[in-house]
Amino acid sequence: MISSVLGWISLCIGVGFTLLGCLGLVRFPDLYNRMQAATKCVTLGTCGIMLGVFLLSGWGALGVKALLCALFVLITVPVAAHALARGSLIFGVKLWKGTVKDQFTTDKGGPSIIEEQK
C-alpha cells in the first residue's frame, strides 16, 4: 500500500520533470542553455520514472531491471551531453549574445569567444 502510493508520486514527479525539460528544449535561446535544461531535467525525470516502476512492481525481473536502467541513464546521459557540448564549442557553435562568462577558451589561452562576437 505505502509503496504503491510512493511509486505513483515518484512517477508523477518524473513525468513532470521530463515534460519541463522538453519544454526547455523548445524555449531556451541557444544550444548550451537548451542542452543543460534538457539533460538535467530528463535525467532526473527518467530516474524518477524508473524508481516508480520499481516501487510499483516489486522485487521481480521488471523492478530490478528498471533500477539497472536508472543507474545506466544516470551515468551515461550527462557524459554524452558533456562530450557533445565540448565538441560543439570546438566545432564553433555561437554562444548567446547575453552570455557573461566563457571559461573554456580563456583557460585554453585563446581569446574569449564573447569578445569576438561583440
Binding site: A80, A81, L84, A85, G87
Partner: protein
C-alpha cells in the same frame, strides 16, 4: 498510467520540433538523444501498464545505443578520429 504515457509522448513531440527546426547539427543531435531517453521511459511505463516484462530489456538496449551514437557524433564534431 495511460495519461502519463500520453504526456511523455507530448514531450517527444517537443523534441521532434527541435530536431526538425534546430539551427545547428548539435541541436538536432541533443534533441534525438533526449528523444531516445524519453522512449526509454515510455517503454518502461508500457512494460508496467500492459504487464509485458520483456519490454524493459528493449529500454536498456535503447539507452546503450543512443549513448554510443551521441558519443560518436561528439568525437566527430571535435575533429578527432573514433579510436583517439
Amino acid at each position: 498510467m495511460t495519461i502519463l504515457i500520453v504526456l511523455l509522448s507530448l514531450g517527444a513531440f517537443f523534441c521532434l520540433y527541435r530536431a526538425l527546426k534546430g539551427p545547428s547539427i548539435p541541436d538536432r543531435a541533443i534533441a534525438v538523444d533526449i528523444m531516445s531517453v524519453l522512449f526509454t521511459s515510455i517503454t518502461a511505463l508500457m512494460a508496467l501498464r500492459y504487464k509485458l516484462a520483456y519490454l524493459i530489456d528493449l529500454s536498456i538496449a535503447l539507452a546503450i545505443i543512443s549513448f554510443v551514437g551521441t558519443l560518436a557524433l561528439a568525437k566527430y564534431l571535435e575533429g578527432r578520429s573514433l579510436d583517439d
